[in-house]
Structure formats: C-alpha cells, structure tokens
C-alpha cells in the first residue's frame, strides 16, 4: 500500500514547459551528444527559455553499461557541452522506468532544488548495431577466450539462451495465451495500430502500410513474438523541460501538468520470480498512480504505453484499468478501441514498434504533442469535439515500470 496521503501530490507542482526532438533515423552516424544538444536546444526554445534559465539536468540511464548505443551521454557531458550552470543534476538507470528522470525532475522542482530542469533520453542503437542486427545480452559469447561468465541476475537466464528482453517478454505473452486466450491476431493489433499512426508521423522509422497477413507472416523471434512485435532500434534524442507550474501562464502554448506518478515495485524485482506472470511491475506502478489522483481511467483521452514489445502495451492497458484483467485481447480485437477515434487512442505517433525505439521518451513527447493539440494529421479529437485533456504515459516492462498522468493546463 501507499504511504498515507500528505495532501496534494508534490509532482503536481511541476509542468512540462517545453519539448524537443532531434533528427530521428535508423543509422544517422551522429554522436549521442550531438543529438542530445539538438533536442535540448529545441526543448529550451519551445519553453521560451535561455541557457541561463536552465538550472537542472536529468537523464536515464546516465553513466552506465548496457548494450552499445543504449545509454546516451551523461549529465556532466551535457552540462559541459551546453555550458550550463546547475543547481541540481541526476542520472540513473534504476527506478520507475525511463521516465524516472522526469519524475526526479518534478520532485526537484517541487522541492526547490531547481526551477527549470532539462530532461533527456538519447539512443544511438541504430548506428551502434549497424547492419548486424540487435544483439543479445552477453553478445553471443564469441570471444574465443573460453565461455563468458556472468554474475548477478543474468546468470539465471543467459546459460539457457534467454539472452534478450524478447525472450523474457515472450514468456509473458505465452502465459497470457494460456490464462486468457490471447491470440496472435489480437496481439498484432498493437503492431498494426502503431504502423497506421506512424504513417502520419514524419519522424517515424517504419511508415509503410502493414496488413495482418504481413504481421502473421513475419519471421519468429521467440514465440509468440515475431519481428513486428519488437520495437525498431534507432538513433534520436528526446528532451523535455520540467518547470515549476507557476511559469504556466508565461508559455505560448498550453502547459502540460504532471498530475500523478506511479513508481511502486511491490512484487519481486525479477522476470521469472514475479508473482503474477501476466502483469509484473506495471500492476504495482499503475495501482500506485491511481492512489495519488482523483482522476479515473475513464478520464483518459489518450494513452502512450510502452511497446518495446507489443505484449507490454497490452499489459499496461490492463494494469492501468482500461479494461479488466485478462480482457485486453478482446479490448484490442479489430483495433477499433485503440484507434485515433476509439475509446483509447493508443501510441498515436506509432509507438516504438513503428515510430522508433526512443525508449519511453518518444511516448512522453507524443503525450505532450496531443495535449497541446499539435498532432497535425494524427491529432486526436475526442467525441466532444475537443482535443485530449488527460493522457496516460507508461514506461517499462517486466520488473521495471513507471507511469504518469499528464493533463492539459494547470488544475
């Protein structure tokens, strides 16, 4: 259970005042710092801020490992590159998914540690992987110096060739087929929906039309996941500026308020030991978020839900209460409910499956675009004739999960 409420959630004192993205592509051959600077300057300009106004810097995952092209530049590297003078900075890979960097920024703003925090997430996985395809963790082991050895949590899966999140999430998908009767045709709707929306996103990686036959004929990666159930590695940087809400009236566009965040991890932090094999930490993060807000799932006008793998999006649909447990297959059947004119417009820029693996931050960016009414050809219009007022964003899968509700204007 959550701690006792202490009045208004402090994250509500923060708004996203600016958004920006770099060039996005499959193999750009540009450095992560170069892409980050492009996104950062765009976000600062969007917020109407000068370099001197930025006094906080935050990223996921910051200094660290991961496969090539994954981490992006550290906050000290970006501070130096942009000549920033900072009152607060933070980077880390542990926490409520990739959006932990935005959540940390909101709390820093609420605590008075910083006034305008530049938050970024940069990937160069497209270039790093080159033509070689996505690596497994452990890199296939072909070092020629004996069999590689691993410790930590990886030791329990790597000996079995379970070397990718694709394998681990495939297990969740298969379990859903067993428990709930999920079908490949239902799962395919996540991929098809993303591709339809990507066609209206000039920055998307894959915009060619895709049919259900195309989806079903794609090569298998790890059953039940085929190629189109896995997101598209790319190069690109997304930046947002998180500011105190009292700047909202100074903006030339609607402020996007952080209404509530969900950061809980109540089950075991492990793929194979989590008590519920069909939801995992998304269940905990979503429950915690709804405990912090008066809004309810029916208030949500658009959902930007992590689809690093298609299964994760349906896990989030259920975890966030847009349908009942086990009912997501029926909910997405035919794709109507998650279309731009459906009850839950989903991943309206194409998600990561077709829009590109911007690793959570592409979804945050698109939620802001939609709330600000700047979606152009893909702008969602609700049955009341208005644009979305409440967006749900979710990042992560398996034992990693974070979610937040964003609203148009300050409430």
């Amino acid at each position: 259970m959550s701690p006792a409420p202490v009045g208004e959630p402090l994250e509500r004192r923060a708004v996203i005042s600016g958004i920006g993205q770099s060039q996005i592509g499959r193999r750009l051959g540009r450095s992560d710092l170069d892409l980050t600077a492009e996104a950062a300057l765009a976000a600062m300009a969007d917020a109407g801020l000068q370099r001197e106004d930025i006094d906080g810097l935050s990223t996921y995952p910051g200094m660290g490992s991961g496969t090539p092209g994954f981490a992006g530049p550290t906050t000290p590297e970006v501070q130096d590159a942009l000549g920033l003078s900072l009152n607060w900075h933070d980077g880390g890979g542990e926490g409520a998914g990739q959006m932990r960097a935005v959540i940390a920024a909101s709390l820093a703003v609420a605590a008075g540690l910083a006034r305008h925090v530049l938050v970024y997430r940069t990937v160069t996985e497209g270039t790093a992987q080159g033509a070689g395809g996505r690596p497994g963790i452990g890199g296939g082991g072909g070092s020629g110096r004996g069999v590689p050895r691993f410790g930590g949590f990886l030791q329990w899966s790597l000996p079995y060739g379970a070397v990718s999140a694709a394998n681990w999430i495939a297990m969740v998908g298969q379990r859903r087929m067993h428990e709930f009767g999920l079908t490949r045709e239902q799962l395919g709707q996540i991929a098809l929906n993303g591709r339809r929306n990507a066609a209206l996103n000039p920055n998307a990686i894959y915009a060619d039309p895709m049919s259900m036959d195309d989806y079903l004929a794609a090569r298998m990666i790890s059953t039940p996941l085929c190629l189109f159930d896995c997101d598209a590695p790319c190069d690109g940087s997304t930046a947002v500026v998180v500011s105190h809400r009292d700047v909202a009236d100074d903006l030339d566009h609607p402020a996007v308020q952080i209404n509530a965040v969900g950061t809980a991890l109540r089950g075991r932090p492990s793929w194979d030991q989590f008590d519920d094999m069909t939801t995992m930490a998304a269940r905990d993060a979503a429950a915690a978020m709804w405990e912090r807000t008066e809004l309810v799932p029916a208030d949500v006008d658009t959902a930007q839900l992590y689809d690093g793998f298609s299964v994760l999006a349906i896990v989030w649909i259920e975890a966030l209460g847009f349908c009942g447990r086990g009912e997501s297959g029926a909910f997405i059947e035919g794709g109507g409910a998650i279309g731009r004119d459906g009850v839950l417009p989903l991943n309206t820029a194409g998600g990561q499956l077709s829009g590109g693996r911007l690793h959570g931050f592409g979804l945050i960016h698109e939620a802001c675009v939609q709330l600000r009414g700047e979606g152009g050809a893909r702008q969602v219009v609700r049955p009341n004739g208005r644009g979305p007022e409440v967006a749900a964003v979710a990042n992560g899968g398996g034992p990693i999960a974070g979610t937040m509700l964003l609203t148009r204007d300050v409430r």
Binding site: G140, Q155, Y160, A162, T223
Partner: protein, 142 residues
Amino acid sequence: MLANGPSLRLLPYLDDHNRFFWTSGEDGSLRILRCHACHFYNHPPGPVCRNCLSRDQAPQVVRGRGRVETFSINYQQWIPGSEPYVIAWVSLEEQPSVRLTTNLIDVEPGDVHVGMEVAVEFEAIEDVYIPLFRPVGPQDAS
C-alpha cells in the same frame, strides 16, 4: 525435435553464494536454499530468508520435479549457430513460487505446453552443472 539449448551456453561466475546451486548436479540432485526457521525455499539464493528474514538457511535437495508455467521457442540467432530451442519457466513441486528459467530437452515443438510435468537433468560444462528439464514420461512413474 528441438535443440536442447543454444549452441553455446554462457556460464555463471561461481561464488560462495551460488556455487552450491550450479554444482549441485554433480551427484544428480537439484538443491535450493531453504530456511530452517520457516522452511521457505529461497531462489535465487539471498543472504537472509525472504519470508522471515532468518539467516539460518542451507541448501536442500529437492525432488527435481516441476511444471512448465510458460515457455518460448527461440528462433533468433542471438548466439550464432543455434537451432530453435525452448526456454521455459519451471515451478518446483515443493514450492511453486520457486521458478527456474531453463531449457526443455527432448521435446517436439507441438508437444510443449503450459502445465507440462517435467523432471530435472543436468548438463555438465567446465565446473558447472546446468539444470535442464525433460518431459516426465510413463517410465518416470514414482
């Protein structure tokens, strides 16, 4: 018939906490860390019992029987030269909350299913005994 695993098995570093598990198969038995105070099985092994926080734990031989909770047939060549193989999460009969990620061996693609009863078998590589599971057949009646 599917392969029994990837073409190359990446291996664990052995240390004082995991050595008992990864070498347990030397005598043909699977061992899981068990709490003497509350009898809870703890896997992966940890410094204290996750159930009661006692430090009084020791490896305990288990029967090596379990149930396939979910599975995936891997086709992607993460590890070059691999033929399709089955990754499974197997829950142990002594305490089903304990699950092992493993490979199923000696199985046909169409036969793998959730709920399949399986029994442990070990593959020795260097100083490690990798627990694998094969379907329980009529010859395994106990």
